[in-house]
């Protein structure tokens, strides 16, 4: 991948992000923030790459592993907590007769 095409990817990704959430009901601000936060843990892929490419370099393996741990803490925790919040909304209609 050349640097220029990566820049294009960055630009288009940003534009996509700007367009994706035009209108959000205030109800969903907290879950949306939390869900988006979980996605930002995608940096776990970078941590994985680091570990795979470490080629037996132990300090690098440790850094990668700690980094992976932090990222997965963000991802797993973020998605679970978002689901917990959203479960409370979706449960409502069935409760109401």
């Amino acid at each position: 991948m050349s640097f220029i095409s990566l820049l294009w990817v960055l630009l288009l990704g940003s534009l996509l992000g700007l367009e994706l959430i035009g209108k959000v009901p205030p109800t969903l601000h907290t879950p949306l923030m939390s869900g988006a936060n979980a996605i930002s843990g995608i940096t776990m892929l970078a941590a994985l790459t680091l570990i795979v490419k470490a080629e037996g370099n132990v300090p690098l393996l440790i850094i990668g592993s700690v980094s992976l741990g932090f990222a997965l803490f963000n991802v797993v925790g973020g998605f679970f907590v978002t689901d917990r919040m959203l479960a409370m909304f979706s449960r409502k209609p069935s409760n109401k007769k």
Binding site: M44, A54, P59, G77
Partner: protein, 479 residues
């Protein structure tokens, strides 16, 4: 192009598509839960894609597997436990903590790559040979460190572990932060020039900058800061994407970064604060102490729980205005008991939700939903405001600034222009409050002085419990 490359390409493309759909779906109530799961699925898919690619090309050493498994299990385990255990009232600080860890992860990746340049593989992994890599490493460290320390400070402040030191409210903090910012810039350029040792300077000063910028910000503005830091962690991820040459990382990071910015903007609007004043203005109370807002109350009417119960019993329509005080007292379940009784008596009950009720936009909805309040009874500000003149009783529970008429009437008030709930239009207003202390903004609330407002002093949960007792004595809700 060989097979593993094609497979990874397809999976990455699919993952980006699903992530985008996920973020989109999260902005609608109906689809939100499925969208969250879709995004989670897309994330796991991306991991499978990456691992299968390396298995198909360079292979993954046993040693690498071991470290991958250790990191994954520990991270996921702690994340899942915290997510399950944390009470709904501490949601803002939880999001801040998760977010900080995401930033830390990007920081560590960049640090690892910078300290131990990886030998070239089949992709051009010549780190520190090209300017671009150095720039992306620097950006990743800079943004990652700010995200981490900023989020941790935000969390500590929300938890009450950290107060706002006095000096941070003076002009000194601008000077201090400018010093940190300049120092990070110097380290940044030094690093790009190829001076690897300045990496530690960059880590330290950008960490300090994160602390220095977040520390002066008051509790009321913290949600905006968390949202902004969330956007930063996306940027950090995108920068890490440049470091390891991953398009997926760049796209996802950029999406979160941009979406986070929009969300921050939306939140600012709801609180009538500009992003600039949130970041550089210090906490609102510090500015307003000398303004017209602080004055003595002259006409406070206080009343007993019994009177409150009698008035409620005679009402046809009741609007509840819940605020942060309700969340702190953990009284949402008790409140639900009260409203159930009223409803059984044929009284119409509606909850008026200000966009920033609670501690984060939408936080109050989550708390009330947890207490089994039907979703249909939660009304947003614009919907409920025209209803107040036709309302008999308004119960204000732990809300303050969001019901301050000053925001409409007093152009000299710091609150002026903020959208508020027009509770004073109702026939009777009961404000359940612990004492006469001011709200987040530290501004006097003119509502309390109005003749149709009565104060019921006490802890929200205790008052509500007493209210249940009084209503029982009156025979309300027992048919």
């Amino acid at each position: 192009m060989n097979l593993p490359v094609i497979i990874k390409f397809v999976i990455d493309l699919l993952a980006v598509l699903l992530l985008a759909l996920g973020i989109k779906g999260l902005s609608k109530v109906k689809s939100a839960r499925d969208a969250n799961r879709l995004a989670a699925f897309a994330m796991s898919l991306s991991v499978v894609g990456l691992l299968s690619y390396y298995l198909g090309t360079s292979g993954i050493a046993i040693q690498s597997w071991i470290w991958i498994i250790i990191g994954s299990i520990l991270g996921s385990l702690f994340g899942a436990i915290l997510a399950k255990k944390v009470p709904m009232t501490s949601m803002p600080e939880t999001v801040a903590l998760f977010n900080g860890c995401g930033g830390m992860s990007s920081l560590l990746v960049a640090l690892g790559v910078a300290i131990f340049p990886i030998s070239g593989g089949q992709e051009n992994f010549d780190f520190f040979k090209s300017l671009i890599n150095e720039i992306s490493i620097s950006v990743s460290i800079f943004v990652g460190a700010i995200t981490f320390t900023g989020s941790i400070v935000a969390m500590a402040k929300l938890q009450g572990w950290l107060s706002t030191p006095g000096w941070t409210q003076s002009k000194v903090r601008h000077f201090v932060n400018i010093v940190f910012a300049v120092a990070s810039l110097i380290a940044f350029f030094d690093l790009i020039k190829g001076n690897t040792s300045s990496i530690w300077l960059l880590v330290i000063v950008s960490s300090l900058l994160g602390i220095g910028v977040t520390l002066p910000i008051g509790g009321a503005d913290m949600p905006v800061v968390i949202s902004l830091l969330n956007s930063y962690s996306g940027i950090a991820a995108a920068a890490a994407g440049f470091v390891v040459d991953s398009q997926l990382l760049i796209v996802a990071g950029a999406m979160v970064g941009a979406a986070g910015l929009i969300l921050t903007q939306v939140m600012c609007k709801g609180m009538n604060r500009s992003l600039v004043s949130v970041l550089f203005g210090g906490s609102l109370s510090a500015q307003s102490t000398s303004s017209s807002g602080s004055g003595e109350y002259t006409n406070i009417t206080s009343c007993s729980v019994e009177e409150c119960a009698l008035t409620l019993e005679a009402a046809n329509k009741v609007i509840i205005v819940p605020g942060y005080g309700l969340a702190v007292a953990q009284a949402q379940h008790t409140l639900r008991e009260v409203t159930k009784k009223l409803e059984q008596n044929g009284i119409e009950v509606v909850y008026a939700i200000h966009p920033v009720a609670g501690r984060m936009p939408g936080h109050m909805n989550v708390l009330l939903a947890e207490a089994d309040v039907p979703y249909e009874q939660l009304k947003e500000m614009d919907v409920v405001n025209p209803d107040f003149p036709a309302t008999d009783v308004v119960l204000v529970l732990g809300a303050n600034d969001v019901v301050n008429p000053q925001a409409k009437n007093d152009s000299s008030s710091p609150l002026y222009g903020m959208p508020v709930l027009d509770v004073q239009e109702a026939r009777t207003v009961f404000v359940i409050k612990r004492g006469m202390s001011a709200g987040y903004s530290g501004i006097k609330n003119d509502l309390f002085d109005l003749p149709n407002t009565s104060m019921v002093f006490g802890d929200a949960k205790k008052v509500l419990n007493d209210l249940i007792g009084e209503l029982k004595d009156l025979g309300v809700g027992e048919k």
